[in-house]
Assembly symmetry: C2
Homo-oligomer: 309 residues x 2
């Protein structure tokens, strides 16, 4: 799947992933009104509004981008109705030949990690039948529990030809609280560096064509750390959140890429899906939210191609 | 909810939580046969078997214990059908007046953490209506992303009078890979100590009667570390996994408790729910799996009361 991700990136000339993190407050009133008319102001109504919103955006941008990253929390908050739309969104994106990165940040140990892995990337057995669960192509994974938590995911990735992105240095302000702690036994290097080193090691046995299917998450908001991690993990694909709404700019991304122009894929969520609420794209109007998203993708691609690559 | 947890512990004289982590291979054949007869070897069939298994165990042990800890991964692997039974299990346990600790190990940032918090502990708004989601009493949370990830949970806890348990030192073998890294700026103290210190700090503003509703997870398999963390976080309730199947014994738990006999609640999952597969309880037979679970709870209580308290 890492090979397919790279092919998609080359074909679109856009190292961009659109984060499908729909909050109700970003969904245009006319979509909510029509969903609530059908299902009431219920969880099903909210889920339907989310679905119509996602569909509008996917239809408008799928030809421009290699991948999407639905954030499961935004669906899980609406219970089963929400998770049903999470699945529907995954299936729809795959029909459009997009690579789907489930932003699930799961992480546990042993059989529990295995259950998450089969539920999201693989198939679960019931008697003599097997079923694919949410069936994302990649998922994000939290490393705090160590190899016991990561290996079950890697095993399923091997079997299913899928991949993971391990949180290394996250984009948020307080990410330094633990991730930046300097380690005495590692010559004062920070924790995230040791995690990065481990990601590189996990990836050695998981190579596609040039890049491994054990990727890393490193925030655009930390360009210096990105530069260091890029050289520390030369064969690791880096998923970069924090561009746009969180403050990261095209020029900050320069060192996240390798000399081959590959090695990084930049996420934007709110900056794309809620573009119509941004003054810059206000001319499209709420009804044409999807056109605003398309314009924002084109601008983001331009910014990255001109300033980062 | 921390006060209710403590009341339940006092009333049952059992600082025990039963982990409802049903793997299909632990579920007695007759339950699977009857579920598959009704629903086929499908996700719904698996979910029904899980539900009948859980119900049998809860009915057999609820009067002996203060709390249960369903592990969401074991349900999530069966997709929506599984998550439906996760919710059904939570509701059923609450009817029995048990405190429900959702072992979800979520952790993200900002609005995303908030979405997990409202989806699991609080209520989500749809137009002018609000809905409780999975509605656990406590959930486990991963600290890797720092305060940005924890604060949204704490805010919902304040509003809903609920609580969290933050992963500090997990019970698995490779937990040391990152959690035990020695920090130079903290005089060679390990990362988990800094996380523990932060849990104590987060908890200061979140006090119930004597204990805070920001708890910690510390594995029974690391008794020395447990002792240190106990004194570092005097008002923190510690959720202790790793007893039984993972190797932790009653005497290992001594220092997880405070002098008041409180401050820790010990989890056993497989040791209780799959007790009938253990030679010690083989006499009950597979059909009487729930009686074997009851006997295992009584033995666990005896071990803890005699050797740890």
């Amino acid at each position: 799947m890492i090979n397919k991700l790279i092919d998609n990136i080359k074909n679109t000339n856009a190292p961009i992933v659109v984060g499908l993190d729909p909050m109700l407050k970003f969904i245009p009133e006319h979509l909510k009104a029509s969903a609530y008319k059908e299902y009431g102001e219920t969880l099903e109504g909210a889920a339907e509004a989310v679905w119509q919103f996602n569909k509008g955006i996917i239809d408008a941008v799928y030809d421009l981008i290699p991948a999407v990253k639905p954030q499961i929390a935004m669906y899980e908050q609406f219970g089963l109705a929400g998770l049903n739309v999470f699945k529907k969104t995954i299936d729809y994106c795959k029909e459009k030949d997009l690579v789907v990165i489930g932003d699930i940040k799961r992480g546990d140990i042993g059989t529990t990690s295995e259950a998450y892995a089969v539920g999201h990337l693989g198939k679960v057995w019931v008697g003599s039948n097997s079923y694919y669960g949410f069936d994302e192509d990649f998922v994000t994974v939290n490393p705090y529990l160590g190899s016991d938590g990561i290996n079950p995911f890697i095993n399923v990735c091997k079997e299913e030809k899928k991949g993971i992105f391990v949180l290394v240095k996250t984009s948020n302000k307080s990410s330094g609280e633990f991730q930046d702690q300097k380690l005495s036994e590692a010559d004062n290097r920070p924790l995230y560096e040791i995690v990065g080193q481990q990601v590189d090691k996990w990836g050695k046995d998981c190579m596609g064509n040039g890049y491994s299917y054990v990727g890393a998450v490193v925030g655009a908001t930390y360009p210096e750390q990105g530069k260091m991690l890029r050289s520390l993990m030369p064969n690791t694909y880096i998923l970069v959140p924090g561009y746009g709404a969180q403050g990261g700019k095209g020029e900050d991304l320069k060192h996240f890429f390798n000399k081959d122009g590959l090695g990084a894929i930049i996420n934007s969520s709110r900056g794309i899906i809620a573009a119509y609420t941004n003054d810059k794209y206000a001319k499209y109007g709420e009804k044409n939210f999807a056109d605003a998203s398309r314009a924002a993708v084109l601008d983001m691609r331009k910014d990255i191609l001109e300033n980062a690559l």
